[in-house]
């Protein structure tokens, strides 16, 4: 789980499109049983830019493995940092940063 979330953020006509892929197995009930591991998935993900919240989602085990998310927002410039944080069921938190291009 040590791998960072991959973040790509691009500014176009004032709108920033962020694509991010978190590295997580997302073990639902069935997957966990199959892999003989404990139930574990990302439950909560946020993105902030310049201390402003731009994306927020509470998730369940029905997101695919290595969840990929895409979203758009306004009000940031090139070079600003997008900080994506996720928390999983076991309480592991990971913070990753990406730059807007």
């Amino acid at each position: 789980m040590a791998k960072k979330t991959r973040i790509k953020a691009k500014l176009k006509k004032g709108i920033i499109t962020v694509k991010a892929m978190a590295k997580h197995a997302m073990l639902g009930h069935r997957e966990a049983k199959k892999a003989k591991k404990e139930l574990n998935f990302i439950t909560y993900m946020t993105a902030t830019v310049n201390d402003k919240l731009v994306y927020e989602v509470s998730t369940s085990q029905f997101l695919s493995k290595n969840p990929y998310i895409k979203f758009k927002f306004r009000g940031a410039d090139k070079g600003d940092k997008v900080i994506i944080t996720w928390v999983d069921l076991t309480g592991v938190t990971q913070v990753s940063t990406g730059k807007i291009k």
Partner: protein
Amino acid sequence: MNRRIFLTLGMGAFAVSLLPVNLKAMNFREKNPKIWSATKVDEAMNELFGSSSAIEGKIKIKAPDIAENGAVIPVSVSTKLKASKVAIFQDANPESTVAVFSVPQDGIIDYSVRIKLGQTGTVTVVALADGKLYKASKLVKVTIGGCGG
């Protein structure tokens, strides 16, 4: 020396303030765990929005008609509604709720995620805007189940 300790404390406080929990964020799993165990879309809607009646339309869902692999189904949701909450549900898995987005102020609602479906099912998106519920749904046929299948 005192000054140094003070600075360290300041840094610590700053780091804590960066955590999303302090950004008026809403973690629906902590706030309302019931929505995650609801087994029907209506039930989950009731838990989350307090009502299960919604107006059809005004939301666009992009999802494949037929998905070969149920483990990775790209779903895009977009709407021009000034919604404060957007939720994705489906009726193919044991529990209904997939994800709940809380839209930040001036947020653009154009979200893409990849979801898992255990079998053929309907993906329903519900948005709360101006106190009204809007919904849209789409049937996705799954040829190979995705939940560990």
